[in-house]
Symmetry: C2
Subunit: 181 residues, 2 copies
DNA sequence: ACCTGAACACCGTTCAAGT
DNA sequence: ACCTGAACACCGTTCAAGT
């Protein structure tokens, strides 16, 4: 039976997890799927489009669990930020892939929206909610990119978890003081 | 006269600024320098090593001006963070290049050291100084990477400057509350 | 509708050989 | 000491032609 777009995406995900972003070439992906490289261009217009779709699928994994209720806004921000980091770490080169998309795909907007919603429900206006969501996003992406590229091989996970938590609490404390004072 | 390592690095810098990281190939660089691609391997053992050296040269630009005296620690942090962002923005794909080195080169360690020094002089112990420097670094890198990849083309600089400043002040307020309280 | 075959215009890297 | 020439093993992409 012929390949479908979902099969191509699934194969790309597996190849990423097994061999990393640098080994995720159109030729190696085609070989794994049992076709020639040119065939991929029937399903996606370019490799960049395929990587965008892959990034969006990974971001989608951050959105699966519904928010626990009874969380106050700092717990909710911690939950979202932790989920973002954990999901990126769960895929080889995840942070680097997510830094590479051209325009923010749908799930990226949805995830950002859950950050701004959290802050608005805590009393922030639109501008403050956007600033707070943005500073959390920049911090988590910058931290995880560095962590996955250079620290994951040398520091144990519990230690990195603890450091992330402490630095995240610095950002959240800053949001409280500057935006929700 | 023959090429020297510094000439290769200079050519790489110019090619980066003119055409961007994706166009900075060994073959195009060699052509600009009037040699064949293989000749570069006499000066650098690999393209990765050349990019590391280029990243370190750019980070070095953040360290040129001595610290203004009479600054308190928040002003000094703001100065360092702003200098980091400005320097990355001054080179095409600067943030992406600086996210790509394998091990932190000398100037990266020196820059991080000036952040920790600032926090220690404000009364932080070693652990707190490290956490504070790290959260600033992660935020600035994450922010500028996103900015240079997707916002620089669509938002005016003054607006991006203002947003960066506001978000940086969130991080600094968090450091004050969590680490220097 | 989906894919092959074959090509095009590239990459980074190596290394004997030249000067 | 520094570089050429030529090769090796790759890339992403296009597209007529096949089924």
């Amino acid at each position: 039976m012929p390949l479908r777009q979902a099969d191509v995406l699934q194969g790309a995900m597996e190849l990423l997890d097994e061999d990393g972003l640098d080994e995720l070439t159109t030729r190696r992906l085609a070989q794994r799927l049992g076709v020639r490289a040119g065939a991929l261009y029937w399903h996606y217009p370019s490799k960049a489009a395929l990587l965008d779709a892959l990034a969006d699928r990974i971001i989608g994994e951050m959105l699966t669990q519904p928010p626990a209720d009874g969380q106050d806004w700092p717990d909710r921000l911690r939950d979202l930020a932790t989920r973002a980091r954990t999901t990126m770490l769960a895929h080889r080169d995840g942070a680097r892939l997510l830094a590479s998309f051209t325009a923010p795909p749908p799930n990226a907007l949805a995830f950002f929206g859950s950050l701004t919603d959290t802050l608005r429900s805590a009393g922030a206006d639109d501008r403050a909610a956007h600033l707070g969501a943005d500073v959390v996003t920049s911090f988590v992406n910058g931290y995880t990119l560095e962590e996955q590229a250079r620290q994951a091989a040398v520091l144990p996970l519990e230690q990195r978890d603890a450091t992330f938590r402490l630095e995240l609490d610095i950002v959240i404390a800053g949001i409280r003081v500057q935006l929700l004072g």
